[in-house]
């Protein structure tokens, strides 16, 4: 399947990372001889689809199943569980094995934990008295390359676990993943972090380096120059706004999952009625690479131009006599026709959503909230959404945006809206509200909001944004420059120092430090590469910055970063890593928990 992205143009050797992961998985399978039933937890299965082809697994005698509470139907006597090390998944494994036992089935069980075995999972097996029946192993998958410049740690619950449960496992995972990268690409000499979780990741990373140092002496020059870590908590405004880039909109409405979307075949102009088809979305698709980061309005224009010029060529072709070379050019152009058709189909499908009054109204309201001028209008709008029982995630998304920009709501309003929510959607949502309150996303106002100051100081709202010829990242939200990317823009250009006062207004501490053998080397001093040009790597490539989002990143933000990269005078290439690619909806969903 073309879903595995092409990584040939990655700024660091991501292919070797992926191949390593492939090899490790194959070795696990090879070491268990004969036919076996591989039971994968479904979310992990999704991540693995970016690493290895199913056919390759089958070549190694694998019968594939998804982990669930239902018992495994297979003739294989060897069952290999491949699961993320989450205690709740153990329950399924236990019930599977207990079922086999009750049926007198004698099987050989292997449990491989991703990325490593944990005391808590083994404890569950032990309590169920199964730990002597299973062979335990590890599959150290910490990073999944999503595209040539995007890596994911595949920790979809990281933000919620940290903020609500106080479970910081994900931070260790992130540090470990970065440390693993350092073993391949050298110790990253510069580090900048903002937010409690990010500073903690930096701390754990430094501890790892002290305990298990990457030998920096045999690495002449580290391939990654700077590491920037940013908490999602620092900017919860951006992911809640509707993304207006092409890829962002595709994700908002069609839910991009592991680099592809699934939709009705008829939408793609295919014959099979009622069937679903999968469309891969990554930079292997040249046209997609060209338009994914653009504002959707512009994408529509570009596609229209392409179609028009194709039509003109066709007309010329049929009406005038052409030379052979001209014919050849035309045929060449025709080759891009499937790509053009694919994206025209998708774009047209998107317009059915974007032209809805409800969407336009929502966009309008998002901008009003971000502008933070008309509290009452926003309040009334959200109240009405609740009364109309609009989908809960839609409501919560705006509500959180509203609460975050106001640093909470006055107690009276807070209690009133909570009551209206419970009345409208049911009392089982008390847990969701409780979660949101714990995470500080929907809460009682306790201090004045800094949002206006921040917005002004960082020029987050940009009038007259030209989406067709943008000169600022604000084009991705048609006028709002994402706070997260503004911060990174500063971090890259001049470090934290010039924006220190603003950083203090945002949640969590910040950190700027040098690491490894380069901690005393002046040539790596600060990222002032733009003016002095010292950041250039000798061979003419640009120095590389790894930007890590702790708690998730949206496609629109990724697009904004790519836009920064493409700017003249930019001395750096960027590579982005995230706990998971999110959007407002998926982010809100992680906090939703019904009592029932």
């Amino acid at each position: 399947m073309a879903q595995i992205p092409n990584l040939d143009n990655a700024p660091i050797n991501l292919i070797s990372i992926r191949e390593q992961s492939q090899k490790e998985l194959i070795n696990i399978l090879k070491n268990i001889r004969g036919k076996k039933c591989l039971v994968i937890d479904p979310k992990l299965g999704d991540s693995l689809s970016l690493i290895i082809q199913t056919s390759l697994l089958k070549e190694h005698g694998v019968e594939l199943r998804h982990l669930s509470a239902d018992h495994i139907q297979t003739d294989c006597t060897k069952v290999v569980y491949l699961v993320r090390s989450q205690p709740n998944l153990m329950r399924h494994i236990c019930s599977n094995i207990h079922h086999d036992e009750s049926k007198g089935l004698q099987r050989e069980y292997h449990v491989y934990f991703v990325p490593r075995r944990t005391v808590v999972c083994e404890k569950v097996l032990e309590e169920e008295k199964l730990h002597n029946m299973v062979t335990i192993g590890e599959y150290p998958l910490y990073i999944v390359p999503m595209d040539e410049d995007v890596l994911s740690f595949e920790l979809d619950l990281a933000y919620k676990e940290c903020q609500v449960d106080g479970d910081t496992s994900s931070l260790w995972h992130i540090a470990k993943a970065i440390h693993k990268l350092e073993f391949s690409f050298g110790v990253i000499p510069n580090l900048r972090a903002k937010g409690k979780a990010s500073v903690r990741v930096a701390d754990i990373l430094n501890r790892m380096q002290a305990e298990e140092p990457v030998n920096s002496s045999d690495m002449v020059m580290p391939e990654i120059n700077t590491l920037i870590l940013l908490d999602r908590e620092v900017d919860m405004v951006t992911p809640l706004c509707s993304q207006l880039t092409y890829e962002g909109l595709l994700d908002e409405f069609l839910n991009i999952k592991n680099g592809s979307i699934e939709l009705d075949a008829s939408i793609m102009g295919l014959q099979q009625e009622g069937e679903k088809t999968k469309v891969p979305l990554n930079s292997t698709d040249k046209l997609f690479k060209e338009i994914r980061d653009l504002n959707f309005e512009v994408v529509v224009q570009i596609l229209r131009q392409k179609a028009t010029s194709m039509k003109q060529d066709y007309t010329e072709m049929t009406t005038t006599s052409q030379s052979v070379s001209e014919l050849k050019d035309f045929v060449k152009k025709l080759n891009s026709l499937p790509e053009i058709t694919r994206h025209i189909n998708l774009a047209q499908h998107l317009t059915t959503f974007t032209s809805k009054p409800s969407f336009l109204g929502q966009l309008d309201m998002e901008h009003t909230i971000v502008e933070s001028q008309s509290y009452d209008i926003c309040f009334d709008y959200i109240e009405e959404l609740i009364h109309k029982q609009e989908p809960l995630t839609t409501v919560l998304r705006l509500l959180i945006l509203f609460s975050v920009t106001n640093s909470g709501l006055p107690k009276k309003h807070f209690d009133y809206l909570r009551r209206e929510l419970l009345h409208s959607y049911g009392f089982e949502h008390i847990t969701t509200l409780n979660n949101l309150e714990k995470a500080g996303l929907f809460k009682k106002q306790e201090s004045r909001s800094n949002w206006l100051t921040i917005k002004r100081a960082l020029q987050l709202v940009v009038e007259d944004t030209d989406t067709a010829n943008p000169n600022d990242i604000s084009y991705v939200f048609s006028g709002y420059a994402p706070l997260s990317i503004r911060l990174i823009q500063h971090a890259i250009r001049s470090g934290w120092r010039p924006v220190e006062e603003i950083l203090k207004l945002l949640p969590g501490p910040h950190l700027e430090t040098k690491r490894g053998a380069f901690s005393n080397s002046p040539s790596f001093d600060s990222l002032s590469g733009v003016s002095t040009g010292i950041a250039k790597v000798p061979d003419g490539r640009r120095a590389l910055v790894l930007v890590v989002f702790v708690g998730g990143v949206t496609f629109a933000e990724i697009s904004a970063l790519r836009f920064l990269c493409s700017q003249e005078g930019m001395a750096y290439d960027l590579i982005i890593a995230t706990t998971k690619i999110v959007n407002g909806q998926t982010l809100v969903e992680t906090f939703m928990e019904k009592l029932g």
């Binding site: 808590v120 404890k123 479970d167 909570r418 847990t431």
Partner: protein
Amino acid sequence: MANVSVAAEWQLLYNRYYRKPELYPMRWKHVDLARHKVAGAPFGGPVAVIRDDSKIVQLHAESALRKLRLFNSAGHPLADAVWRHPGGRLIGMSWNDDLTLVCVVQDGTIYRYDLHAQLVEPNISMGKECFEQNVADCAFWGNGVVCITEQNQLFCIPDFRNPKPVPLADPMIDEPPRCIAVIEPQYTMSGNVEVLLGVADDPVVLVVEEDGVQRLGEGLLRGPLQKMVVSRDGKWLASFTHDGRLLVTTSDLTGIIIERECEADENLRLIKPSLPEAVEACVDASGHEFDVSRQRTLLRAASYGQAFCSNFQRDRIQEMCKILRVLNAVRNPEIGIPLSIQQYKLLSPSVLIGRLINAHRHLLALRISEYLGMNQEVVIMHWACSKITASLSIPDATLLDILLDKLKLCKGISYAAVAAHADKNGRRKLAAMLVDHEPRSSKQVVPLLLSIGEEDTALMKATESGDIDLVYLVLFHIWQKRQSLEFFGTIQARPLARDLFITYARCYKHEYLKDFFLSTGQLQDVAFLLWKESWEFVKNPMASKGSPLHGPRIKLIEKAQSLFAETKEHVFESKAAEEHAKLLRIQHELEVTTKQAIFVDSSISDTIRTCIVLGNHRAAMRVKTEFKVSEKRWYWLKVFALATIKDWVALEKFSKEKRPPIGYRPFVEACIEADEKAEAIKYIPKLADPRERAESYARIGLVKEAADAASQAKDGELLGRLKLTFAQNAAASSIFDTLRDRLSFPGAS
């Protein structure tokens, strides 16, 4: 330089010269080797001596109790211990590879001693048969032993690191063998030990293995053997025959070697010595020399000769000097390890260092490792551990300073390992102090802290490391060890541990979690748990059977409500729980009166809608009043419910009841969404805002009305937007046209 007295020491034996220098005059007193059993360790190791209890000896001025005495090679006493083991006579003793003295007694028990004559626990047994039959003789090799019983059965321990006795095949002999020798497992084909037995009155050697017995040497031997010795590499066998001949054969007894292998390194002697070779020979010779002044003489000669050779490797001499310095240091009678240069090379410097520290010669070991540029960690570590063992009377703080002073010499040394040793010696406090200095906080340190009972420190270190797995490790450890209340107290003070406990318990230990919240006074969390449980009744219909009013379920929610009420901060939750209980009651009543099971577990708003859809307006009104539903919400709910059942008459009636508190927008929206243009038109003119009117007209496709309303609003942007809404047309002839036109997007052109 040639010296007659030196040359006179050398004796020709067959085709080579040998000499037998006296290395040390033995310093021991009153040791008559004839009256003792003696075991000397290879590689210049120690000598163990004990009075032979199989011989009748006259006691001089000494105790009747036997003593095991250990000496270095120079006869310098190292340690001793009184021998009072049961189990009969001492049959044999020998030093094994790690310099443990192994002593086999008659009943098959094996006692082991270290270099300091300390008994190494546990004792090993050769098994039941040996115990019953008595051990008659034994033979040792580097790491194992073979015993032969009085009934001529053989048992062996192939490896002392895993001391399990293994029976060997029955050699089927009636008389005890004349002699016994062993080929080590590493030199045999099978990888198992081979025992050679010289049998009485039979000119063969029996080779006994685990799974069989072979007869070797038939036709080669002319009579029984008296004594056999296997070479170190297991290839050759030297034996003493019944007629007093010395025979060297291959160890499989296929050929007599001493007559065949005669090639010598005569070459060198035959060739007229050229200078580089002479220099080389001097350097070599110095290495083999034990006498320091002669070493000096030889090296001086080499150094002189070297000056006239252009291509002689200069560092050869340097290297030799280095080796000799080390050798001379350990040969010193105080240390007493008379290693030859071959032995030293075979042994390797690191093993030598190991032996020195084992003998508590730490300073020398440290100097040597420093001199040879080796890692000093091993030495310092061993020193620190020995120091702790030997310093029972030194207070913790003082000892810590002494230790730190040396430990800091070595970067990256494991304080944790030293701490583990301190703990083993019953110095828990010192151990904790040492761990505090350990820079590495993780995998090794945390389990160690747990093993020495320093749980709080372990928890702190685990938390610092950020490795949640370690925190869980500590958490489960404490959980298991402590009483619930104490455990709760511990984790309550540690937010990360507490949160992780709660996360785990939420999944698997619900009841226990309740106890925890109760003990820490977090009543609201107990309330949440109870509230959550109330839903379990829904999932499990059996639980609610026979109780139409869902009694137990409502009781749980009410319990939750009262717990919420006990804390000041949870008024909202308390009220919500109260309302929830009330709602369930009303929903039950509704299900009873309507005979439809569609109410329970829907929301208040949904209940109202359902009532209206069913035409039960009184019930809807009652729910509205009971829960003080605002007029705003009421209007939205009722309008949408009426639109759902397309009761347009009722809707119009409702619109006229009174002026709707939120205007007519709900009416318009409901009609448009139901695609009832005619109905919508009734309400659009009543909208107060001309912009809303314009947009509503536009949505149902009334261009003119929309334009009118928009111009009324005097909103240019709105006009523009409406224009776009109507700009769509889809007439396409060719595929390209289709593609192009399908792309009409508001705001796109």
